[in-house]
């Protein structure tokens, strides 16, 4: 590989995949009261959701310190003179801005390109993975940036929620706030569009919501990459993978867990499907 890839932990790239593809992951922080944890390092997804139900204070999240990015860039710059950083949507987090600032403060001389994925969760993760795969196959930095920009427009995500409380509390509900305050119990389906959270549908039951996710993936004419992510309901995710395997090889479907930082904003029971592909 001629250049290195770095991403923040909001992309939920599974650790083993990151290792295999040589991707450096910068952890975003999740904060319970006075304690700060690095996403996925100090706190696993399971530990997080366990804590979420036990702790009195609800968690907040915090962008990685500027210094962490500077150090990470400088460290990678010892091995390479080209770095591609892919971040969570700049409309959802200041992580992108922090990474861009860090480039200015590096000690070593190195070309660093920071790309805004306009996504989060596996909508970001699939872009990171495809970029790393292309790099491994020998593509150059400029080529991979072009590929990633094109893939941003080909990547979509849908998430089935049980409650929008966490999203509202974290201030990232975007236009989905139209779905708040319903007298009826609803299962909202949200997605990320142009970098922001968007409402897509309102289902009346969990089963219908999962059907929606299934139909969403099946509506693609061509699927290049596929991910199914759960927060606390692995059985539902496994069943969905089973259904989708009629369409896409099961062993190629990524199955990460919603990371603690993302979890702090979406809450428990979130189930999501991300597709990189073509509609028609």
């Amino acid at each position: 590989m001629t250049f290195k890839i770095i991403a923040d932990s909001l992309g939920d790239v599974p650790p083993e995949v990151a290792k295999e593809l040589g991707i450096t992951i910068i952890p975003v922080h999740v904060i319970f009261g006075a304690e700060s944890f690095r996403d996925g390092i100090d706190l696993t997804s399971e530990q997080f959701y366990d804590k979420l139900t036990r702790e009195k204070t609800l968690p907040t999240t915090s962008v990685p310190p500027l210094g962490t990015f500077v150090d990470a860039f400088d460290k990678l710059a010892e091995e390479t003179d080209q770095i591609l950083a892919i971040t969570v949507s700049s409309k959802l987090s200041a992580t992108h801005e922090t990474a861009a600032q860090a480039v200015e403060l590096m000690k070593r001389k190195c070309r660093v390109e920071v790309v805004d994925s306009l996504g989060a969760g596996m909508a970001e993760g699939l872009l990171v993975i495809t970029a790393a795969k292309a790099a491994q196959a020998g593509a150059g930095l400029d080529e991979v940036i072009k590929l990633t920009q094109r893939n941003i427009t080909r990547t979509e995500i849908r998430m089935a929620f049980d409650t929008l409380e966490y999203l509202k509390r974290g201030g990232r509900i975007g236009r989905a706030q139209a779905l708040l305050g319903s007298v009826l119990k609803l299962n909202p389906i949200l997605g990320i569009k142009d970098g922001e959270v968007h409402p897509f549908a309102r289902e009346r039951s969990r089963a219908k919501a999962i059907d929606y996710l299934y139909n969403f993936a099946m509506s693609f004419a061509n699927i290049e990459e596929l991910a199914v992510e759960d927060a606390t309901t692995p059985d539902e995710a496994d069943m969905l993978v089973e259904r989708l395997s009629s369409r896409f090889p099961r062993e190629r479907i990524y199955r990460p867990k919603v990371s603690p930082v993302l979890g702090a904003h979406v809450g428990p029971h979130v189930l999501s499907v991300a597709v990189l592909g073509d509609r028609k």
Binding site: S62, V63, L66, T98, R172, V183, L184, S205
Partner: protein, 543 residues
């Protein structure tokens, strides 16, 4: 009067440590303000974490020289900077360190010069500087400090006092520079954070250890009148008189006390502020009384009294804004306070009161259609007697009107839920029309006279049950009839049952009905909701 002519490194460090402690006290209040650039509610926390890292490094520096301490602060801030405001804060300390380079001691003119450097550095750090943020606050503070320094005296207190006053004014003015703040009704969080830090340093310079320990930083109130979000209001409903807003200034103004005093005077009371300044908002029929009551507590400022009838038009526009697709409006016919609430909460644009016993006219529906901002309007009549009136609307307006001929409340709810925010008008009409087949409606009422219907003899006041408009059951008790109709449906295939009980039905009875369905069909998701409709004891949706 107290004067401070110069500081050495150790004092500078103590000054910012005091400011950090001061900031810590209002970090969570600042979090709550945060809407720009990302509404993530962590500006206060980020600034505090940045300051902690700043001070940790400062404590590693030698005591004597201010240059060394400022250098260390800049380094600590840089490495620990979090979030946008943290990053800008680190730039501010970097500028300060540059301004104080090679200085052993800090004088008033040094401070003014260094703040100027801070301001320049903060702007330089950003590719796209936005006014109405922490940037504006540091610039105004630095400029005031310079004016004070050049007009005489080298006293650090007077210079910092000028900076703090200017910062306070700049923070209060942020909503007039940044529309997103005005819309949210808050001042800029990062600006408030910087103001709090500067205020903390001033307390230190003045030797106000007690202040620092016992008091809490004040949150600055916007100097421009902020728009107040109206509660939802349906067309044809009687509004609550006058929306009355003002600011109250005085001493020991307890928000709770004021709230207790005013809560009986009207609706939607909001009392926010601190001991010296409180903002009050209330919907009242007697604004004079409210103002009169308040004058006994302090002085009144920025009074605004608006007639809420006149606000209806604004309200309708705001409602259309709530829908992500602003070019489509949905008009729903419904009556009963509970059912109205259900439809409102699902995001309809306008509600026209009506139903079985009160059919709105074509004119009522036309007026609603003309009142909305959108050119494309969807009407859900929710009753078969209202469908014909709704279908007349198209011929009377230039707007594009589509009627989704829902004949029951559950069909209306299903149609509304099928609305796809991403789809165009035509697709949405298709989706909404199709949704009808996925829901069955049961209506239970009592016969108003003895009659024969559907081959059944019905006595006056007997309970009768309809399934999708057809009479299918007669009996003495409404719950028995409901159960009889439910038995006709293949409930094993259903997923969700929603029971809307009427104005004349006991809630406990309705809950009991829900419970027994849950017991018999554990796989069903059963919801019991007060519909408040007249005429029908129960309206039940089976999906």
């Amino acid at each position: 009067m107290k004067r401070v002519d110069s500081l050495i490194g150790q004092n500078l460090r103590e000054m910012f440590a005091a400011a950090t402690a001061w900031l810590e006290k209002s970090a969570s209040d600042i979090d709550a303000l945060n809407v720009f650039p990302v509404p993530d509610g962590d500006t206060g926390t980020n600034m505090l974490l940045t300051m902690r890292s700043t001070m940790e490094e400062a404590y590693r520096a030698p005591d004597r020289s201010v240059a060394a301490v400022a250098q260390a602060m800049a380094k600590g801030a840089l490495m620990g900077a979090r979030g946008n405001s943290g990053v800008i804060l680190s730039q501010i300390w970097r500028g300060l360190a540059q301004g104080l380079a090679e200085k052993e001691a800090l004088t008033g003119s040094d401070l003014a010069g260094a703040l100027k450097q801070s301001s320049t550095m903060a702007y330089n750090g950003l590719s796209n500087p936005v006014e109405g943020t922490i940037l504006t606050v540091i610039r105004e503070a630095a400029s005031a400090a310079q004016t004070q320094a050049s007009s005489g005296g080298n006293d650090l207190i007077s210079i910092m006092e000028a900076a703090v006053d200017a910062a306070s004014e700049a923070v209060a003015n942020t909503p007039s520079l940044l529309p997103v703040l005005k819309e949210a009704g808050v001042v800029d969080a990062g600006g408030q954070g910087l103001y709090t830090i500067l205020e903390g340093t001033l307390h230190y310079l003045k030797g106000e250890a007690e202040q620092l320990q016992l008091r809490k930083p004040l949150m600055i109130v916007s100097s421009v009148p902020l728009p107040v979000r109206l509660p939802q209001m349906a067309m044809g409903e009687v509004p609550y008189g006058y929306c009355t807003e003002f600011m109250l200034k005085g001493h020991e103004l307890g928000s709770d006390k004021i709230r207790r005093k005013l809560e009986k005077k009207g609706q939607s009371l909001i009392v926010v502020g601190d001991e010296s300044t409180v903002r009050i908002h209330i919907h009242t029929l007697a604004p004079g009384d409210v103002i009169h009551q308040a004058t006994s507590l302090g002085t009144i400022h920025q009074v605004s009294i608006r007639n809420m009838d006149e606000q209806l038009q604004d309200f309708v526009e705001m409602q259309t804004e709530r829908m992500p697709e602003v070019d489509m409006a949905i008009i729903v016919v419904v009556s009963g306070d509970g059912l109205t609430e259900v439809f409102k909460s699902l995001g309809v644009t306008v509600i026209v009161p009506g139903g079985q016993t009160m059919n709105p006219s074509t004119k009522d529906l036309l007026q609603a259609a003309e009142a909305v901002a959108s050119d494309k309007v969807i009407i859900l009549p929710n009753n078969k007697n209202i469908v014909p009136a709704a279908e007349q609307v198209q011929s009377l307006t230039a707007k594009k009107i589509e009627v989704v001929p829902t004949t029951t409340i559950p069909q209306g709810v299903a149609a509304l839920l099928a609305f796809d925010y991403e789809a165009d008008f035509g697709t949405n009409i298709e989706l909404m029309k199709k949704s009808k087949s996925a829901v069955a409606t049961i209506e239970i009422t009592r016969a108003i006279r003895s009659t024969q219907l559907g081959g059944q003899n019905i006595k006056k006041k007997q309970a009768i049950g309809f399934l999708d408009g057809d009479l299918v059951a007669v009996g003495d008790s409404t719950t028995d009839v409901l159960n009889e109709v439910l038995a006709r449906l293949a409930l094993t295939k259903a997923e969700v049952i929603t029971i809307y009980y009427g104005a004349d039905t006991e809630p406990t009875e309705a809950e009991q009905v829900g419970l027994s369905i849950r017991e018999q069909h554990p796989h069903l998701q059963v919801e019991v909701i007060r519909g408040g409709q007249s005429h029908y004891n129960y309206i039940v949706s089976v999906e």
